[in-house]
Each structure stands twice: as structure tokens, then as C-alpha cells.
């Protein structure tokens, strides 16, 4: 996954309003008006957030001129989650080795012998 795309995904997710919009879209498509309802925000304000989400590829908007429903595009979020999971596994695996290494190191110091 490209760094630019990840940067865009994370930058888009960094804002709580945008996360709330995405959370709303998890339950189905919605119009800009519907999305604006829970927030004390003007329609242009919401539109700005939607543009960020759209540029990040996190939502797609319908073509109809009047009512352009927004729909969640889960792929980049899935990729970001996978990428984070990769890091988690990397650290967990490294910590396993660190733990074993330090155990070994201390064992050697104290009793001159290998643990395994």
C-alpha cells in the first residue's frame, strides 16, 4: 500500500467529525443533509469534510445532481487496519525475542549455561 494513500487515509481519520461521518455511513448511504444533522455545523462545513473523505477514497458520492448520496468505501480502511495489524505483529514478535534474549542473557551471567 502506498505511503501517500496511507497518509491520506490517516489524515482523513484524524478528525472526530469525519470519523463520526464514516461511522454513520457504516449503517448505509446518506445525503449531505442527513449527515449534517447530528452536528452543529453548516452544510458547507460538512461538505468540506466530505471532500476530504472523498479525496482519501473513503467515501464515494452518487452522480445525481440534486441528491448525491454518500457511501462508505471500506477498502482503504481495511488496508489501514491490515497495515496496523502488521505493525502489531511485528512488535509482538520482537518483544517475544527480546524477552527470550534477556532471559538468556541473565541466565548466562548467573549460572554459566545455556537455557535451551
Amino acid at each position: 500500500m502506498s505511503s501517500d494513500r496511507l497518509n491520506r487515509t490517516f489524515a482523513a481519520l484524524a478528525d472526530p467529525t469525519r470519523r463520526a461521518i464514516l461511522a454513520r455511513l457504516l449503517s448505509g448511504e446518506a445525503s449531505v443533509t442527513e449527515l449534517a444533522e447530528p452536528f452543529a455545523m453548516s452544510l458547507p462545513g460538512i461538505s468540506k469534510h466530505l471532500k476530504v473523505l472523498e479525496r482519501a477514497g473513503l467515501i464515494v458520492r452518487g452522480r445525481e445532481a440534486q441528491w448525491r448520496p454518500c457511501r462508505l468505501e471500506p477498502r482503504p480502511l481495511k488496508d489501514a487496519a491490515d497495515w496496523l495489524e502488521h505493525y502489531r505483529r511485528f512488535w509482538e514478535a520482537s518483544f517475544d525475542r527480546l524477552e527470550a534474549y534477556l532471559k538468556d542473557l541473565q541466565g548466562k551471567g548467573k549460572q554459566r549455561g545455556r537455557r535451551h
Binding site: 505511503s3 496511507l6 497518509n7 490517516f10 489524515a11 481519520l13 484524524a14 478528525d15 472526530p16 470519523r19 464514516l22 461511522a23 457504516l26 462508505l72 471500506p74 477498502r75 480502511l77 481495511k78 489501514a80 487496519a81 491490515d82 497495515w83 496496523l84 505493525y87 502489531r88 505483529r89 511485528f90 512488535w91 509482538e92 514478535a93 520482537s94 518483544f95 517475544d96 525475542r97 527480546l98 524477552e99 527470550a100 534474549y101 534477556l102 532471559k103 542473557l105 541473565q106
Partner: protein
Amino acid sequence: MGADIDAAADIVAADTTDRQLVVTRVIDAPRPLVFRAWIEPDHVARWWGPQGFTTTFCDMDIRPGGKFRFCMRSPEGTDHWKRGIYREIIAPERIVFTFAWEDAAGNPGHELLTTVTFAEQGTRTKLTLHQAIFQTVEACNDHHRGWTSCMERFAEYMTPAQARKA
């Protein structure tokens, strides 16, 4: 598609103010030793990376602003390079660094700000690793509480503009 939606829900709905990856581990070794294992190349090369990987290159300039670059070789013989810059080295309590994998052309990928804290628990040490995912200035503004390292990044970000004015 179902699995994609679940993963999406996971990353969106996790109601955390600081979106971070957190990994903790209690290690049965005294804190000064655990800390040394992070800052001395001979130690680091012995444990960094998953089982079966070997560290074939390890260059660490341990000081704030110092760079590091490692190469990890997989059991299949593939090299994985990673690099970063140390932000804080506070022995034996805390290390803060940026961290990114390089692609095949040597370009760094998405950079994460990583904070490792070492807490004494009797003769053992609790290691906590945070990876801050959001590093935009906007995120710094959102999550200003106690996020000093992020603010330092913000300061760095601002400095060139001010320097130009001066």
C-alpha cells in the same frame, strides 16, 4: 465485502481520542538492562524483528535528532530496511523515535511516531510501546493533551516558515 466492512467498522468506531497502536509486555529483567537492550546495537541486533529474521545492518546514532537505519533479513533471504530519527532518549525511562519501512527503491513509507516507556515493576520491567498514527498538524491540534512530542513536530513544521520571515 463483509470482512471489509468489519475491518472498516473496527478502525472507525474504536472510540479512542488518541488513535494509537499500543503493545505492552512485562519483561523479567531489571529496567537498566531492558533500556540498554534498546540503545546498544549489539543487543538490538539480537532481538529486533520476528523469529527467524536476522539483523544484517544496524546503524544507530543514539541522541535526540540522531538517525537509525536497520536491515532485517527474512528467513527466505529478503531484506527489509527501516529507518527513523530519535526524538527523545531519557535513560532509563523513555525513547521516542520516528519509524518507517523503506520500499524497494529505498523510499520511506508512512512514518509513525513511536514512544517506548520503561516502568520498573520490582525486579521486572513493563515495556509499553505506543505508535501514534496521526501525525498531521491537525491531529496535533486535536490531541494536544500531553502529546508533547507531537507538539515538537508541530514546532519543527513551523520553524522553516518563521526562518523564512526572519
